[in-house]
């Protein structure tokens, strides 16, 4: 019984982290219809920037703010830069080419990271130490992973859903997600919506990285690990489905931690098996709607 509780707690913590990365990717894919392979690089850059900033500030009390600032900065700089500088040039091209542009970007950013931060693992856990441990039964958790990360993830989900459903700006984004041509027909400037959605997506990736930074060593290639998992989340969730991403992240998180407890050999393949199983039953993804094409 206690084992079950522990597995759930571990699963939650992991799901929170996965969600933070996948949600941005889902949003970007929903709006721009581009699967951004460089999303993992933005995650990594967010993480590195956060670690550097926490180190620079030096005061542990301010470290949480430093994380948020780093994410904001990376999102605000990299988002528009990439969208305007690169993606805006290829919206009229085939999907394959769009995908490949982000693949190229991913390769470039991998080396940029290495040139900026080197290969030495970077570890800055001031925020984790700041929040201290939490004891469940006789097991020590860190408050950072058990409370802060799931809270931030939940808050991000709620804010995002509120923003998309309740604000005018958010609704324009949703309109473009559902039907780009119809949205443009009623006078929505799709290009601005793209810029906005991509910047939010980049910011979320960076925030995911910034949040993960205090819990893990930053090494070259850290973005690669995150990105394939996020791909699985996007497809399993259903295209552009924010809530779907949350549920999928939760399923993967729980699946993974139960695997570690009861069938360790399966741990790595859990996300993929889950995806195959979901798509077998629901070909449009967990929350995807199978819309009959109008003919």
């Amino acid at each position: 019984m206690q084992l079950l509780l522990l597995a759930v707690l571990d699963g939650l913590a992991y799901a929170a982290q996965l969600f933070m990365v996948a949600v941005g990717l889902t949003l970007v894919f929903g709006v721009l219809k581009i699967l951004n392979v460089a999303h993992g690089s933005l995650f990594a850059i967010g993480a590195y920037t956060a670690s550097t900033l926490v180190g620079l500030i030096g005061t542990p009390d301010l470290s949480l703010i430093a994380l948020a600032l780093a994410a904001l900065a990376v999102g605000a700089v990299a988002g528009p830069l990439i969208e305007r500088g690169l993606l805006a040039r290829i919206y009229d091209k085939e999907h394959v080419l769009q995908l490949l542009v982000t693949f190229a970007l991913f390769m470039i950013l991998e080396d940029v990271q290495k040139l900026l931060w080197g290969v030495k693992p970077l570890f800055e856990d001031a925020p984790v130490r700041l929040l201290g441990p939490i004891v469940v039964g006789d097991i020590y958790y860190t408050a950072y992973q058990l409370v802060l990360m799931p809270s931030v993830a939940a808050a991000s989900l709620l804010i995002l859903v509120w923003f998309l459903r309740r604000t005018l700006l958010g609704r324009t984004i949703l309109a473009v997600t559902h039907d780009r041509e119809a949205a443009q027909a009623i006078g929505i400037d799709a290009r601005r919506v793209y810029l906005l959605a991509f910047t939010i997506g980049a910011g979320l990736a960076a925030l995911g990285g910034a949040l993960a930074a205090p819990t893990t060593s930053l090494v070259p290639g850290i973005g690669v690990q995150m990105i394939v998992l996020s791909f699985a989340v996007v497809a399993t969730a259903g295209l552009g489905q924010i809530e779907g991403a949350a549920v999928t992240a939760l399923l993967i998180g729980l699946g993974r931690s139960f695997a570690v407890y009861f069938a360790p050999e399966l741990e790595v393949v859990v996300p993929y098996l889950l995806m195959v199983a979901v798509l077998l039953v629901r070909p449009e993804g967990l929350f995807g709607r199978s819309e009959l094409r109008r003919i």
């Binding site: 894919f29 699967l35 392979v37 690169l86 040039r89 290829i90 091209k93 085939e94 999907h95 394959v96 080419l97 995908l99 490949l100 542009v101 693949f103 190229a104 970007l105 991913f106 390769m107 470039i108 991998e110 080396d111 940029v112 290495k114 040139l115 690669v224 394939v228 791909f231 699985a232 996007v234 497809a235 295209l239 050999e265 790595v268 393949v269 993929y272 098996l273 995806m275 195959v276 798509l279 077998l280 070909p283 449009e284 993804g285 094409r293 003919i295």
Partner: protein
């Protein structure tokens, strides 16, 4: 553009290169093999479908050679087995993935390749994990060749397979089912209302691509004589798509041209900038996509047309 002439001239050029620079023999053999897998990717791209997991079939082909080598002494037989195993897997997996389109198609392929990758790493007692399996050099054409002759033999084999596969695929693409591939991209509904199963069209192409990737994997295993799970990793699948776009898919030369340029750029970039070769490759890809979306064959085609017009 006279594709056949270009193919033969290109092959002669490769032969000369391989003769002048012994190390290129191996690199070019790998490039031609990769080109075969990319040819399969190009077939799927006709239907607008991007597989982010075809390294799966490359790895199946390669590991088939590794597993069968203790029992089979002839390289050609090993290749046949590699193609067989990859095709069989394609036949089964294709039944499932041919129902899906676009990102779902891409991601399901990714999922299958990642599952295989994990298995290759996990089933340590069987696969030796990341250490990989060493393959004893087999006979070729029934002869126990010296290392050098074996390299030449494999190079020749890869060249022959490249030429024949290119010709066969070109022919397949001209048949109704082959033509229906790009029809699937532009009008799947229409296809269904003509009484044609779009799924079967894609399934057929998928099996062709799996077989080609298996052949590529077999050749790669025979050339490197060492296989590792990295063959199945998703970045390797991504590379195949990369090469397809680099070379261009309009013409059967594209995949091979792309593969050769990719390998050479990587070699020279890695030699000149060991710390930033990935960035160079990324930049090359960016330039191609932004400036020459039809890939290298597109560039050549344009040049050829211009030359003919100015004549």
């Amino acid at each position: 553009m006279p594709t056949r002439l270009f193919a033969l001239v290109g092959m002669a050029l490769l032969l000369a290169l391989a003769a002048l620079q012994p190390w290129l023999r191996f690199v070019l053999t790998l490039a031609l093999a990769t080109g075969l897998a990319v040819l399969g990717i190009a077939v799927l791209l006709r239907a607008g479908q991007v597989s982010f997991g075809h390294a799966l079939y490359v790895a199946i082909g390669a590991y088939t050679v590794a597993f069968a080598r203790p029992l089979v002494g002839e390289a050609l037989a090993l290749l046949a087995l590699a193609v067989l195993a990859a095709s069989a897997s394609g036949l089964v997996i294709g039944l499932f993935v041919s129902r899906y389109r676009d990102i779902f198609f891409g991601m399901l392929n990714l999922a299958f390749s990642m599952v295989l990758y994990s298995l290759l790493e996990k089933l340590y007692w069987l696969t030796r994990g990341t250490d990989g399996i060493r393959i004893a050099r087999p006979d070729l054409f029934g002869f126990a060749l010296s290392a050098r002759d074996y390299e030449w033999g494999l190079f020749a084999l890869a060249a022959v397979f490249a030429l024949t596969s290119g010709a066969l695929v070109a022919r397949y693409l001209l048949t109704p089912a082959g033509q229906a591939l790009s029809a699937l991209k532009t009008g799947e509904t229409r296809l269904e209302f003509l009484g044609i199963s779009a799924r079967r069209v894609l399934y057929q192409a998928y099996c062709v691509s799996a077989a080609l990737a298996g052949l590529a994997g077999g050749l790669i295993a025979l050339a490197t004589l060492h296989v590792t799970p990295l063959l199945a990793y998703w970045t390797h699948s991504g590379e195949l798509v990369f090469v397809a776009i680099l070379g261009g898919t309009a013409n059967m030369l594209g995949p091979f041209l792309g593969a050769i340029v990719f390998e050479l750029v990587r070699v020279y970039a890695a030699a000149a900038f060991p710390d930033a070769w990935q960035m160079i490759l990324g930049l090359v890809l960016l330039v191609i996509v932004l400036a020459a979306a039809r890939g290298l064959v597109g560039v050549i085609e344009d040049a050829w047309m211009r030359a003919r017009r100015s004549k």
